[in-house]
Point group: D2
Chain length 275, copies 4
């Protein structure tokens, strides 16, 4: 339904990954190869960190491929950690407040997939959001509801456990409403220093998700990319769909797993919803 | 905070009232004289009926004064009953789903004013909306919440009573939250044949509201307006602020009253919230 | 590069052809089958006549598939003659003034295709536009330049000859600039009662163009389409790409021809540029 | 008609001048005190330099006061030299390509004022633009035409002389067309290291223009503004209208003068058009 990209590592211009690559994220907005939809033209968003404070957002309802401001921003902004998302709406309104990434304090959140029959259980799901968080919900998507549920379940303290409880709660609610496989998701969230990337679906057949293993592999596979030369070994990209000209350096996140990109050793763990 | 206009009578081009008058609604978007804010540039909307079915909407986040499509539409569409609204946001996001008029089935709703400290009681207010209506809420404004509360309280059966109960409920909820004067409003609603226009505020000092008394008076005061010549005697306009070149034909709706524009004799009644 | 549709006949709601058909024009904005590009998401426009005066326009930079106002308008407006266009930019800015149809007085104009290497000869082409017309040019597309050249060459008096001179002039200018095949086009233009639809390219391999032959054929092929029942026998649709569920009733406009949809007998003539 | 601001000095977050000041530029978009119009809601633009290359642009057709992306960008971007502009259209279309600042290579340009009766002489003015520049013109404003004329007359080599020739040419052309006072302008242009700010009108009664004299004065007048503490002594702001809470530190640019903000000593010189 959507495509997204998360970057962590040596500060780079956003355009290196959003614009300049063959099969860049902007390319994918017009011609996705692995997505559930070919065109992801219902808006886009970028969230980036610079100085250790709250992330900044640029979100628009225009298609990414024809938004000049996005290209300007991507050329003008460098960041050591950023998220980017292109949207294909599953029905909710095309407006900035329905556009990813979503932000709460220092946290960002983005999602590809859907909660099946969300409209019918929206009230029940929102009913579980903590009072202190409720008034921060600005849009009407399933994705934002998942974020506020995860925040309610402790995202800021233990992200993996909070997302596991969120998914468990959505599945339980969905099944009460007679929905066989309520959740289809790849999700990325970050506090500005660690990225958690989840691949999961109730039916065990999740949307694609890839991560770049090691930068030395990337560099070896792309010796002509001089812009990679200065990047640290910890640099890592997580994407819905491989960026074309970095092929050879991508690993699929296995079904029902969470990848954790962090200072030091990265991790890949099985992900199991908590009911 | 906003300005609005409601028209009922012989079918006319929307532009007659939105564009061509001195101090037209589009003028007021840039230079309101009686409004709480001079500029009403945070989007606008038009809702119109044609053939007795559901009304049509055109809503935009651009200022009314510079939107070319609005002028085209106003020149191209004739209607016997239409609503128009220009918005000055009191803080909620600028997006089409926060733009008036709001529609539910055959009904339209628009509002000037605010629920004071709405954010803090939004959850409680939305909690009272009927289950069958909840999933139709698309935006985040106090105005749309008031609409869905009124629908919950029977707007489609007895509009005056439903709005009275809605206001009573909001005032009760507000006072529980320590808000002295929770409601400030002028509201227009219609089912496509009758218009109900409410002027009320908890503090007894409501935003301005005017109606045109009788068309013969309008015609007498504006003998050069040949476009008025063909209008029926039942033609009526209700506005936040008089349209300039129709001066002399406007009456203020008294504080705490509701005006009912309907086939046959119009009515003006005291309006009292029901607690 | 784009897709378009022209309708003439008994007044119908625009949505009958823009929204409700399988492979409707809105469908084609997301999934064109015969176009040079699959996605036509760089804005759209509709122009319609109602009462014999100037046509009205609704043009937007958003993709047609996610614009709610387009669906409202298409449901709310009936017309006996309308144009609709979905754009895939060949590089010029995404703005309303670059969106088709273009209007001059009573005339509308829309185009699919391009002038090859237009940027390099834009100044020379604009230089030939009549002084009285020059200041009406608002955008930067090749399509609008073709319109103002055709107006300069007498579009309002003899459309076929004016377009022939325009194409001849563009080809001559292009060849002076070393462009082998300067023109690729299907064009529709109208004065509100007759539609001229051109299919031509310098290389003799033009974009697709179809017209619906006779309404009795349409009705016979689509007996379940009750909305066709009331349409007059002169009703005619010209399209870049057949609307899906009216299949069987479409004829391709031959290479280098112009079709003329008019009161009385329609015409199909060879089209030859005048140098 | 518009308001603008130019900053040069120690790198600061754009929000310091665009958002946080009383009577900030965003305030002025809603409530200008000295402008020809109170509301400057027809779009806005920001241009900034970071690393010595081409400047970046963010331009939007929305009012500055309600654009969330502008606030995000202003919080997320620091720059040692930036331009910001809020627009009140004098009639030309509301689109990004008509929004200031305009960019050509390393140069930025913004304008407050107008060429009187521009429409009638647009063709003649554009006719004088150099061939190599013509195809870069994307919009339809007088302001952009002035920029490309100045570039044609040598802006990149000798800005004061080029602007003098541009103004002389426009006045000469205007008078040929019977326009008594063709030019009304305050203009800022920069190559990324020096800013030239012009105040001139044919009638000798130009729109307001102010510059901040010396940073020590600014600091003395605003001892509580800790964010000023780290700014270099060469830091300078040029504005259409004083920012409120920096009052006391503003000097009016005299009629028919150009101010030059540059490394080393700044300059203020009489400005005389060259005919």
């Amino acid at each position: 339904m959507c495509r997204w990209l998360a970057y962590s590592g040596s500060p780079i211009r956003l355009e290196e990954l959003l614009v300049k690559r063959d099969r860049s994220l902007i390319d994918q907005s017009l011609h996705s190869r692995l997505g559930a939809t070919t065109t992801n033209g219902d808006g886009f968003g970028v969230g980036w960190y610079d100085d250790g404070g709250e992330p900044r957002l640029y979100r628009s309802t225009h298609p990414a491929w024809n938004d000049r401001n996005l290209r300007e921003l991507a050329a003008g902004v460098s960041s050591p950690l950023f998220f980017a998302h292109i949207r294909a709406s599953t029905g909710t309104a095309i407006q900035e407040t329905n556009t990813h990434p979503f932000r709460h304090g220092r946290w960002l959140w983005m999602h590809n997939g859907l909660i099946r029959e969300f409209t019918g259980m929206r009230r029940e799901l929102l009913g579980a959001v903590d009072d202190s968080l409720f008034s921060s919900i600005e849009g009407t998507t399933d994705s934002e509801a998942m974020f506020y549920l995860a925040l309610t379940f402790g995202l800021e303290d233990d992200p993996v456990s909070a997302v596991a409880r969120m998914v468990g709660f959505v599945e339980e609610t969905g099944r009460k409403h007679g929905v066989a496989d309520p959740v289809q998701m790849t999700i990325a969230t970050t506090d500005g220093s660690t990225i958690w990337a989840f691949r999961y679906s109730s039916e065990g057949s999740s949307r694609s998700l890839y991560f770049s293993t090691r930068l030395d592999a990337l560099k070896a596979a792309n010796p002509d990319l001089v812009e990679l030369a200065g990047l640290s070994d910890e640099t890592r990209v997580v994407v819905s769909e491989p960026l074309g000209d970095l092929e050879g350096a991508w690993n699929e996140v296995p079904e029902s797993h969470v990848g954790i990109v962090q200072p030091g050793e990265d991790e890949l763990r099985p992900f199991v919803p908590v009911r």
